[in-house]
Symmetry: C2
Subunit: 307 residues, 2 copies
């Protein structure tokens, strides 16, 4: 079992504090009425690089103690941008192995933050082969997107801030992809609030894994919640399973509808991954307590050129 | 000449304070870099009913001193919703004369706030006829959308708050439709900052009016900035002309692009009308000072059902 605890999250918070935004917490009467609970939205769409991923990546980069001058990761989006941003703060180079079919918008964003992109195929094996090749030929530190203690602790700081800002939350709802955000939330909440994960039906490996008690292989995920196509890692599975984390699912149309609800009623831009908890909350009212926090994970979405 | 002054704006601020949001001021490094100035965005998209119009409508309604029990206006959107909201706070009925071709989204919003809609044709004359008919047959107070001292003073409170929050602004950029927001800004700023108006090329009556020195008739406006299709009134023209207000134009594609820039970089939802100042700022760099406030007028926009 991993020996991570809330202390690691508190340490991460102090490490990254002066570089990341303490993002605001928004409320929305209309959505409260829809759900029948008080909702408190932690707006990580306003975070550096537009996503909570800045927290974990920076915590990992600031935790490097040797003379590493380059970092590498695989990502189809926000983690790659976050790592590039974090690396640039320490003057390090950053390489990102990116599937060829990753969104152009997120590729451009990674490049804007200084990442050098290494193309790979869309399958897991292709990504791993490319990464291994790179690490054999280059002196660089691999910073995983989620299955890493520093990443998990860093992501937990979002929940730490939310619970610090809003007292007596009964639940924290977070989207689940690789499980870094959810694992960090579990550590940060330390049982004071229940952490509930929300996952697209089309990428339901965490849901299945919690049922069977072992890490289930992902299907080839095709959800519009493109930040949630990853599957749990060894460490994130363990943390979620130890906490017997409830995972609630939402369909593609429910996710799309919830995304538009956030845009239209809260007047903020979130990516579909961010709206999966709201979609799952609306679908599963019996799981929902009265005073709940929701982490809006990111806001990196591109809009078409026409109205 | 109108005898409105900054005092009227200060009075309005104190009258409406406990009902409206003191909206936040956002900044964005990326947009600062694009423009080459420091930009401070007053986020009236987060205001009650999703637009600054709540300020003026409420100031007008709270200023009614007799036993009026119903108010009426004409509006294709935000003013109607704002008036319905304000009327409901005093238990008054609210009627809105609405062009048949007004956006369904904004019609639904007006209804949600309790407005009763009266359909009219899309031309000015049809609207005025319907309104006159209604006033002949009903005991109701007409609250104009912009050409009214209480409305103007109320809208000015957005600029008052912005200048109170951010010191030493050189300019305040606002979108111009009927001119209520711009007139209020001029009163609020009282020469301490220059107020610059931004208008769609396809609805450029204020631009033309400032050139000729008289109120020019509008074309039939077709701009995507649907909040700016109105033309100046007698009082708003006078205030803008007395101040020799600069009006900067933007094309439809510039407005669409600026709208997407706000969505994608600031992660907030604004309606196209709100993005007209940014579009005009990007187009007319020679008009732009170094430290400027921009009023994001509203966020009421509907998104298509598919991604």
């Amino acid at each position: 079992m991993t020996d991570l605890s809330q202390d690691a999250v508190v340490e991460a918070a102090s490490r990254i504090r002066s570089y990341v935004h303490r993002t605001p917490v928004f409320t929305c009467h209309t959505l409260n009425d829809v759900v029948g609970s008080e909702l408190f939205f932690k707006c990580e769409n306003f975070q550096k690089v537009g996503a909570f991923k800045a927290r974990g990546a920076l915590n990992a980069v600031l935790s490097i103690e040797d003379d590493t001058s380059a970092v590498v990761t695989h990502s189809s989006g926000n983690h790659g941008a976050a790592l590039a941003w974090a690396a640039s703060l320490r003057g390090m180079d950053c390489y990102v192995v990116v599937p060829k079919d990753a969104s152009k918008f997120k590729r451009a964003s990674m490049r804007r933050y200084g990442a050098r992109l290494i193309d790979c195929g869309s399958k897991l094996e292709s990504r791993e082969t490319k990464l291994d090749e790179f690490l054999e030929q280059n002196h660089a530190r691999f910073i995983p997107p989620y299955d890493d203690p520093h990443i998990i602790a860093g992501q937990g700081t979002a929940t730490l801030e939310l619970m610090d800002r809003i007292a007596n939350l009964e639940q924290i709802w977070v989207p689940v992809g690789g499980g870094g955000l959810a694992s960090g939330a579990i550590l940060a909440a330390r049982g004071q609030a229940e952490v509930v994960g929300a996952e697209p039906e089309l990428a339901d490996d965490a849901f299945e894994s919690m049922k069977t008690g072992r890490r289930e292989s992902p299907r080839e995920p095709v959800t519009i919640a493109d930040g949630l196509r990853s599957s749990l890692g060894d460490q994130t599975f363990e943390i979620l399973y130890q906490a017997r984390t409830t995972i609630a699912l939402a369909s593609e149309s429910e996710i799309a509808k919830a995304t538009r609800m956030v845009w239209e009623h809260m007047k903020i831009v979130v990516e579909p991954s961010s709206a999966v908890p709201l979609a799952a909350i609306i679908r599963h009212p019996h799981l929902v307590k009265k005073r709940i926090g929701i982490v809006l994970s990111g806001g990196n979405v591109s809009f078409p050129n026409t109205f």
